[in-house]
């Protein structure tokens, strides 16, 4: 306890509330409030309605949601596979090799997402591989962006892993493949789940690279939110934003439930 006097403590809490509520709690609340209203001319929104939501689960909006979900799931699965493989391979290397792999796989974090989008667009609009105008270019860019986070989470988890388990298994005559599948991966399962949740959330909200390369028939939800707000339909945009936040939260919740189940192993 840093502050012992009662008034001091209340001052600290009041200061905290004055900073925290308008900066962090209010933004999310106003988006939810706006998504249920038709006007915002006074201090508070007016004209309660659910019309934005009925529109948000139909036609173009529903298609954008499924587009986002398919993109996020595909990108996360591929990123987890590549990222886990790379992290396992890096852990078996000597120090210098590991640093090279770390640097290579962390590079997409440091490169601006817009530039990742530009690079993918430039590379796959020309032979030998033409992906421009297809959904695959969006999925590819998302995969590149989230692989770095998958790699980072898994290699952090590998550092914490007790080597005793695999040594014990190997000393009992287990083949390397068996050690990997039956000992290492089950022990890594909680962190793999956490990484999957992270990748999914990042891909669901990805806008920068997507803006550079989405084709007209593969419009993810963030792009639709942008086009809605850009033409002035702020209330439709906020209803779509609530749908996006809810979908992300539900997925994170589902992933955290798997994690608690796996940790009993």
């Amino acid at each position: 306890m840093l502050v012992h006097s009662r008034t001091g403590r209340w001052t600290a809490w009041a200061g905290f509330a004055v900073l925290f509520v308008p900066l962090f709690a209010l933004p999310l609340l106003v988006i939810v409030a706006a998504s249920f209203s038709t006007h915002w001319s006074g201090a508070f929104p007016s004209g309660p309605t659910t019309a934005h939501y009925t529109a948000a689960v139909r036609g173009e909006s529903l298609q954008a949601l499924t587009t986002s979900l398919v993109t996020a799931v595909t990108a996360s699965v591929v990123a987890l596979t590549v990222g886990t493989w790379a992290a396992l391979a890096a852990a078996a290397l000597r120090k210098r090799g590991r640093r090279v792999l770390d640097a290579l796989f962390m590079l997409p974090v440091a490169v601006p997402s817009v530039v990742v989008g530009l690079a993918v667009l430039v590379a796959f609009s020309q032979p030998p591989v033409l992906l421009n105008g297809t959904r695959w270019i969006v999925i590819l860019a998302h995969t590149v962006l989230v692989t770095a986070f998958a790699y980072q989470s898994v290699s952090a988890a590998l550092l914490r892993l007790d080597p005793m388990y695999e040594q014990a298994a190997a000393s009992l005559g287990a083949r390397p493949a068996y050690v990997l599948l039956r000992v290492k991966l089950p022990l890594l399962l909680p962190s793999l789940n956490a990484a999957a949740g992270l990748c999914f959330a990042l891909s669901m909200g990805e806008l920068s690279a997507t803006m550079m390369l989405y084709p007209p028939d593969w419009t993810p939800l963030p792009v639709l939110i942008f086009t809605a707000t850009d033409r002035g339909s702020l209330f439709t945009g906020s209803a779509l934003a609530v749908v996006l936040m809810t979908a992300t939260l539900l997925a994170l919740l589902a992933v955290s439930r798997i994690r608690t189940k796996a940790s009993y192993r």
Binding site: A177, P222, S238
Partner: protein, 277 residues
């Protein structure tokens, strides 16, 4: 898979670096090769001279850097204050607040700008309160389409990225130190300055440099403000490539932006490794 010490397998098992080849090959095809193409494209004759000499590029560079530096400073101050209260003046619900911060991190950044439109936009809550109270036709808050609006949004969105490492560092701080200091008569502000701040420096450095890189690369927040006056480097890349179809210029701006943020990122990795974070 890669085990180094299986002697009886030595004849058949591959050296461990072979296992690293497939993922590196994938990365090379989908990321390194495209990045190399961007660099090659930027080397088109005259592209660098055109872009680096242009007013719009220099403006964007200056705007990007000062916005990123100011946002980082704001995040560090705000994040430190909030984390100190959560960690050392705990209140009922402080756990819920740190959970909320984790959730906040999983939302995309442009949601903040969207929310600010309702809070401080021309027909938002703040201006609505003003017009209701004074009877004026319009409110005084019009900063949203200026760099200050972007600054507010970036500080809001990135502060949690500073708070998380700080809270982790504070949870390892020996509370006995604080008790001793305060029993010796030190006032809370002095304890913060002389005991807590030195302990927090590595986490502040790590969080601050991460936020600096992310601010330099931020696109969604700037795009959503829709301000013509605020052009950052990522916005310039988007504008040149998609709106003007001038790929050579876009690649030049991209190379500059990558050099700036990768340079800072290398610094961040160094700092965070030293901080043990």
């Amino acid at each position: 898979m890669p085990t180094t010490g299986a002697k009886d397998d030595a004849g058949r098992s591959l050296p461990s670096w072979v296992w690293a080849l497939p993922p590196v090959a994938v990365l090379a095809v989908v990321f390194l090769y495209p990045l190399a193409l961007v660099v090659r494209e930027s080397l088109a004759p005259g592209a660098y001279a055109d872009v680096l000499g242009s007013e719009s590029f220099r403006d964007a560079l200056v705007t990007t850097v000062w916005l990123a530096v100011a946002s980082t400073a704001g995040c560090l101050v705000l994040g430190f204050v909030l984390a100190v209260v959560i960690a050392f003046v705990p209140f009922p619900g402080a756990k819920a607040v740190s959970k909320f911060i984790d959730v906040f991190l999983s939302f995309p950044s442009f949601l903040i700008t969207l929310a600010l439109l309702f809070l401080y936009g021309t027909v938002g809550m703040a201006n609505g309160l003003w017009t209701d109270a004074t009877g004026d036709a319009t409110g005084p808050f019009r900063f949203l389409s200026t760099p200050w609006g972007v600054l507010l949004a970036e500080i809001t969105y990135f502060t949690p990225f500073v708070m998380r490492p700080l809270l982790a560092a504070f949870s390892q701080l020996e509370t006995a130190q604080l008790e001793v200091a305060s029993s010796l008569g030190a006032r809370p502000l002095r304890i913060v300055r002389q005991v807590i701040l030195p302990e927090a420096l590595p986490a502040l450095a790590a969080g601050g440099s991460l936020v600096l890189v992310m601010c330099l690369n931020e696109f969604g927040i700037v795009l959503f403000t829709g301000a013509k006056g605020v052009t950052t480097l990522p916005m310039l890349v988007y504008g040149k490539a998609i709106l003007e179809s001038d790929y050579a210029a876009a690649c030049v701006v991209a190379v500059v932006n990558v050099a700036l943020s990768v340079g800072l990122y290398v610094l961040y990795r160094g700092v965070s490794r030293r901080a043990g974070a």
